[in-house]
Symmetry: C2
Subunit: 510 residues, 2 copies
């Protein structure tokens, strides 16, 4: 079920125009030469090196899977890909690159959405994929230590027999690697329940931009001995060093899952409902997803559902999906039934109607509605997609402001923007906005949307990138969510770790 | 109940000898002069300044509560204490001190255990206690924004009517301040359930050592826009900047609490039991506390309990206290009863006997046993106390190794070390070791214990300070838990934030 849910996570859209604008020049860096290749051959086995340079002169096609992201949006320029098998090899590669001023792009599963793992100029790609061993798992504490190149789903499968789950789950789990997850501070579907990687990652092993191995691969939940340096690499997007090993706390697997789908008179009821659900379900609430009416109607028109009776839905303005994951099916159902009864019998009900899944297939159907929205957007036209965080109370305001902006510009309607809708994770404050260009992307549409959309997110003290990161795509928008002082201090941190600016250059910082 | 439980948390012991050895000389820093005082009077109201210097010449006694820690172990040297009311005032003070090379010791509730908040030479004390306003609380998201000087218990009381609790709780809650909690990365009793501050702190406002205000007071759960700088100040112990404001995620209050007390044949059963309890109680488990037989017998001999029938306890080698905090009393009791039934009816039982609290007073009695141990240690003699983290499987090994060490040195018995015992938070990997010197502290006892105890913790890849921090007390022991590379990089981070070394000098780094 989760696989389906994840496979359809929103995808950020990048026009070719902006991508072209963003490419910086790296005059401080050298291209890889045959001499460099000869040195890499001293460090690595021949099968760990792919290069279009002589003597082996691999074809460009063989590098394509490292040079193109999975959406085909970004087209990298690397002529050499290295696939080390050990941390020591990573260290030796980095030392050579530092000496020779060769740029390095650390790459995990290459499933990013913002061009963070793509070589912009002539940097080599250092793929972690060949470092894919589990180093240890303690079924008592749930602490897992693994190479950075382990695929997220493989780790889930590794610990499943021990009744544990990974604390994060996301659409790309079949390809993405734990090192990349950590380097991008991946959010995903379990954040509401298990918190962010800043809390669940216990230790990291990192090769720094001078080749030094920083071993902080602690397996301790509590350790107050000095600065928590590893935190800088969580979400550092590979610009401060290369994560090669990970220690992470994995939670016990829940024994039961349920969900409900609720129709609400209007947005003003969402937040009181969230409070009520939090109070009544407490520790078993694992998702609280929001869908506005525009998105719901779109789903219905494309054959999703119906989950609720159309008459009972009436003029409900929005919808909420609540999931529980608990340790006891009977208890969880009782809590959910109690919640629904109190909601429906209230004098001034917060909801118009609702349904509780009664079987695994109903559970799947309810999630399929939420998950199917992304695909529906694609069918409606070309969607501009924005992954932002705003305070919960401002969710719908932001969506409405975008729509009004389009109306005021004369760009709302089937001739231009046919739909503006919002859905997302209320619990996380993470709103996915979809702006449908019925007849395709056009510069004047994008100009009407940006930077307006970033400005309005900034005016609500939101984040222009809730979970996707900055990469090379959003460096120009960083200042909407970070003050000049913050960006200045980010630069200082970059400077102290990577004074030569060889580590994933052109990413994160504008 | 929690207040009692907290009030008796273990206290680290510092001999006068080592304290004297640790005091560094700060030849790069200047003492406060009358000219400086005159400048501080331009920034602050007269009531915000305490100084033994003319013209007002406050008495030294008036500074005592800032110069002495609450245990009376550390005796600070500050002649001036400043109590700003705004972040802007903090910034102006710091700017002046940077210009004049005056050391600054940021101080919260002064409840630390490792001398981190005490002026070692002539640094001023900058007390945050007058900055004690709640800035905002959102009862929907549970996000609280507060001045650093807010007392932890006051914040708990502030959000209680909104059905939320603070994600941390500790013994000093009536005095400690949220800014100090964050600067020391306080652990406490709720870490097992709600995770560390690295996950629950959403944003910080920090005055950097040059006086710049770094405003990262985000109220977003998800924000992937660049390096997460705030993490450096969580556990930075005030050496990188002064935390002035805090944004923190507070969880919904649980609706029910229960506990059980179990007697186990031997330590080998503890970890299988922990696994069983985790699986059966799942999300409602909120504490899993370990007590070894030595500690249990000591408790009984001092009149704690008895909770269990002595005959049923038999030769049980250790004991476990499990607490649940859930959303439904009936469900939680059913889960706990089910757990006990399956434990007692197993073919090869993990436990000898156990008791489930049936009333609030029984709940309190069970906790009182665990909480009372610290006081019993004081009655037994002078306890050497060590707050360490080690892998769960090594808990008892470490305790036994210390005892054997004392035996091999001829120092075990009523003439020297009468008891070596361990208890602590299995769930967190946090072991509190107590080594009782029946007739008082003696240098040869300490020499037999240290650095041996740090070496053995290091050999198990443990932490020499699980939750108390480094402060000025443990700088010499930092290298047992951090590699040379890690310490070198900590120094580089310190250098980039505080090149003048004015911010809490002599703390954390050796």
């Amino acid at each position: 079920m989760l696989a389906l849910r994840n496979a359809l996570r929103p995808v950020a859209i990048q026009t070719t125009r902006r991508w072209a604008h963003n490419i910086p020049s790296f005059s401080h860096l050298n291209a890889v030469t045959e001499e460099d290749l000869a040195h890499f051959h001293k460090i690595l086995a021949p099968t760990s090196i792919l290069s279009t340079l002589p003597p082996n002169s691999t074809s460009t096609d063989d590098l394509a899977s490292y040079n193109e992201d999975w959406m085909g949006k970004y087209h990298g320029q690397a002529n050499t890909v290295l696939r080390p098998r050990t941390t020591q090899q990573v260290s030796e590669i980095v030392k050579w690159c530092a000496k020779r001023r060769i740029g390095i792009v650390p790459q995990g599963g290459n499933t990013g959405l913002v061009g963070g793992g793509i070589s912009l100029q002539k940097e080599i790609v250092l793929s972690l994929g060949a470092m894919s061993n589990v180093r240890s798992f303690d079924p008592v504490s749930g602490i897992l230590v693994a190479d950075a190149g382990c695929v997220l789903e493989s780790l889930s499968e590794y610990i499943a027999p021990h009744n544990h789950i990974m604390p994060l789950d996301l659409g790309a789990k079949g390809s993405c690697q734990i090192g990349g997850n950590i380097s991008t501070n991946a959010g995903g579907l379990r954040l509401l329940r298990y918190g962010s990687l800043h809390g669940t990652v216990l230790g990291l092993e990192v090769v720094l931009p001078d080749g030094t191995i920083l071993d902080q691969l602690s397996t301790l939940r509590k350790d107050n001995t000095g600065y928590d340096l590893k935190q800088l690499f969580i979400g550092g997007e590979g610009t401060l060093g290369i994560v090669t090993g990970v220690s992470i706390l994995t939670p016990p697997a829940p024994q039961a899952s349920n969900n409900v789908f609720l129709a609400l008179p209007n947005f003003n009821n969402v937040l009181p409902l969230y409070q009520t659900v939090k109070r009544q379900l407490g520790e078993i609430m694992s998702a609280f997803e929001y869908i506005d009416r525009t998105a719901y109607d779109m789903g219905i028109s494309h054959g999703l559902g119906p989950i609720l009776d159309a008459g009972e839905v009436g003029d409900s303005q929005c919808f909420v999906l609540v999931e529980t994951s608990g340790g006891n099916q009977t208890h969880d159902e009782e809590k959910l039934n109690g919640l629904l009864e109190s909601l429906l019998s209230a004098e001034q009900p917060l909801i118009n109607t609702g349904v509780l899944s009664q079987s695994p297939s109903q559970f799947a159907s309810i999630w399929a509605f939420r998950e199917g929205l992304t695909e529906c957007c694609q069918k409606e036209g070309k969607p501009y997609k924005y992954d932002v965080s705003v305070p919960l109370a401002d969710f719908q305001k932001v969506v409405d402001a975008i729509r009004e902006r389009m109306i005021s510009k004369g760009l709302y309607g089937d001739h231009a923007i046919s739909k503006v809708m919002g859905y997302g994770h209320v619990g996380d404050g993470n709103l996915h906005m979809n702006v449908i260009a019925k007849h395709g992307y056009r510069p004047e549409l994008e100009e009407a949307l940006e930077p307006y959309i970033y400005e309005i997110v900034a005016s609500h003290k939101g984040s222009v990138s809730a979970e996707h990161g900055i990469g090379s795509m959003k460096t120009h928008a960083l200042h909407y969510s970070k003050s000049d002082v913050s960006i200045e201090w980010m630069r200082k941190i970059k400077q102290v770790f990577d004074p030569l600016n060889i580590m994933n250059p052109g990413k994160v910082l504008p």
